[in-house]
Amino acid sequence: MYTIVKKEVLSEAVFLFDIKAPKIAAKAKAGQFLILRLNEKGERIPLTIADSDSKKGTITTIFQVVGRTTRDMSKLNEGDEILDVVGPLGEPSEIEKYGRVVCVGGGVGIAPIYPIARALKECGNEVIGIIGARSKEFLFWEDKMAKVSDRLIVCTDDGSYGQKGFVTQAIEQVAKEEKIDCLWAIGPMPMMKAVANTTKPLGIKTIVSLNPIMLDGTGMCGACRVSIAGETRFACIDGPEFDAHKVDFDLAMKRLAYYREEERQADSSANCKCGGAGICHA
């Protein structure tokens, strides 16, 4: 059992949990993730380790409510327990001195970009942070990102905070002024695809963190397979970070949608009181 020691509501549908998991906290590196299962009947879902504190023995994870498991999770409180947490999984980010790096976080992707930005900064890079969201309510961790960035650009699609526009526009703007040695982008799949399309003609080395559907997270099932430069790779053990310019995003987005019907069914069965175990919604 893994106890939730802190819960914060970051925005409308985004929550932060600090979870007691000393062994994972001691080992986690930027770029890695965990898989959790809330209870006996629960699904195994992957979440990025957004921060860790080896002294307190806790890990931080930030999640957006998108379906049944994340909704159930959002109802848990400090002191409640999660049945299974395993990690750190995946390969850590390749942190080294590149020179000037740009770290882009979109929506809930701000959470996983933060530890990467911090590690790159600690390694002596000049870090330009770009964070963006649909509107003001979906932004969080501006202060944390500001602390690890030499310069931080904040944007919202609707202009309700920061500059109006997409993160891709902010990237173009930076690229016009300075030479970018490496760029990280994490966010929803369509955003990462747009970033890849923006940086490719500019010749900027770009890394994205893919979030396919996963089951075991140890290379056993192949559910997480992605196509990188035409070759099949398992995101849980070969990734989750890959060279953005080699990723087949369209395939990845289609694979993410395969269970949409079932996901809806699982989510509505949570709220239904008819006792049909969700079958009534089929």
Binding site: E43, G87, M220, C221, K254, G278
Partner: protein, 470 residues
């Protein structure tokens, strides 16, 4: 002497019409009367050939003779002196190529149903003395600690044996439950998970600690285990990495590895979705590529999940199929169709990226080559389409690279398996032993157990010598 009954007493089965709609065990097991009748077929040979066919040398005539006299408890002790998981082996051992193949009766008629008898007494024990440990006494506690990585049959056997020798044993398992393939791969209808969990419970009663959610290579490396107080390590991480065909369209939705499909259904209980939250999608037509045990399990699972047409698509003929005979028969009874001398070369999908069909080619078998094997040869111009809603790849599994990547000084084979001594399971790294599928490639439960046993003995020897030389 009375005339020998030529055939095994039949195994009672769940009727086909019923069993294709549930996940309960298909083979129901002998009752006492049938078991005793079956034992009378055994000649209790002085030099029993059957024992030579069993990888762990279960004293077969002895236990059969005890059953004959109604000494069920004695029979189970005899089996357990060699095999700590009889309820599992009695169900899933490929007896027709092991113990039963060598039985003298097999020359003229059906061999003695050794597996069914083994299962019978094991079930008898489980039913009648649930809370007793396996009977063996644990020897005096030793001060040494052993880490076991992986909780499949290899790891569990090594852990149980080492605990009995008095070692302090910790098992590290990546998944949230112990059992390996016995839990996530082999379906409930062939091996009830309750039985596996009871056997694991017995191992825990010996004092073994099992840490689930613990991935070695990520949380700790093998070297870290050795540095932090473990005196020896046994690696039994299995062959978990699924192979694909590497043909176009293979990443379309609806194409699963057998591991993914079976894990969703067995480990995550997707057959009870949405009560259990992990979904699995099975359409009308399902093609399973391959013809081993894994393929039969996947095909029979697809039948139970409501697929209307399930095909086994295989490059060779029925004679070459690696699956157990019984599984092939059961699959046929359940309506699985066999599409032989055929293999897919490309998959096609719709605008959502869901698979809709596959292009296959036909094969013929060549004349036997030097090794005596008839290789499949593609027939030119034999391309044809087969409509499918799902494809399940059951092409075999390779070793997972997590441990190899993070352990220095561990010799690997060309295919990435750990190289270990056949008799001692010792690897190229001091204090590190390995056995089961991670060494042999995908094999059988009983061979994995056999390796676990050998390793336990060798680890005991290694630690005793180490102690004396200090």
């Amino acid at each position: 002497m009375s005339r020998i009954v030529k055939q095994k007493y039949e195994m009672p089965l769940q009727p086909v019409e019923e069993r294709i709609r549930n996940f309960e065990e298909v083979a129901l097991g002998y009752d006492e009367e049938t078991a005793i009748a079956e034992t009378k077929r055994c000649l209790e040979c002085k030099k029993p050939k059957c024992v030579e066919g069993c990888p762990v040398e279960v004293p077969i005539p002895q236990f059969i003779s005890l059953i004959k006299k109604g000494g069920f408890e004695g029979a189970i002790s005899v089996i357990k002196s060699k095999n700590s998981l009889p309820a599992i082996c009695g169900r899933v051992c490929p007896q027709e190529t092991q113990c039963e193949q060598r039985c003298v009766l097999a020359r003229n008629c059906e061999p003695v149903a050794i597996g069914r008898l083994e299962r019978f007494v094991a079930d008898y024990e489980l039913k009648n003395k649930q809370n007793k440990t396996s009977g063996e006494l644990v020897s005096d506690k030793k001060s040494k600690k052993v880490a076991v990585v992986g909780s499949g049959p290899a790891g569990l056997t090594a852990a149980g044996d080492l605990a009995k020798m008095g070692y302090d044993v910790t098992v590290f398992e990546a998944l949230h439950v112990a059992g390996g393939v016995l839990m996530y791969g082999i379906p409930e209808f062939r091996l009830p998970k309750e039985i596996v969990q009871r056997e694991i419970g017995n191992i825990k009663k010996l004092g073994v600690e099992i840490k689930t959610n613990y991935v070695i290579g990520k949380m700790d490396t093998i070297d870290e285990l050795l540095e932090t107080g473990y005196d020896a390590v046994f690696i039994g991480t299995g062959a978990g990495l699924p192979y694909f065909l590497n043909v176009p369209g293979e990443n379309l939705n609806g194409i699963y590895s057998a591991n993914e499909f079976l894990t969703r259904v067995n480990l995550m209980k997707a057959y009870r979705f949405p009560e259990y939250l992990t979904p699995v999608k099975v359409g009308k037509r399902v093609a399973v590529i391959g013809a081993g045990n894994v393929a039969m399990d996947a095909a029979r699972t697809a039948v139970r999940l409501g697929a209307e047409e399930v095909y086994i698509v295989y490059r060779r003929t029925e004679k070459e199929m690696p699956a157990r005979r019984e599984e092939i028969e059961h699959a046929k009874e359940e309506g699985v169709k066999f599409v032989l001398l055929t293999s897919p070369v490309e998959f096609h999908g719709d605008e959502n990226g869901n698979v809709t069909s596959m292009t296959c080619i036909k094969y013929e078998l060549s004349e036997p080559d030097e090794s005596g094997r008839r290789r499949p040869v593609a027939i030119e111009g034999s391309e044809h389409e087969i409509k499918v809603d799902n494809v399940i790849m059951a092409l075999g599994q390779g070793p997972n690279p997590l441990i190899a990547k993070t352990t220095k000084g561990l010799e690997l084979s060309k295919r990435g398996n750990i190289v270990a001594d056949e008799n001692t399971c010792a690897t190229s790294k001091q204090g590190v032993f390995a056995g089961g599928d991670i060494v042999t490639g995908a094999a059988t439960v009983i061979l994995a157990m056999g390796a676990g046993k050998k390793a336990a003995r060798a680890i005991d020897e290694y630690l005793t010598n180490k102690c004396n030389s200090n």
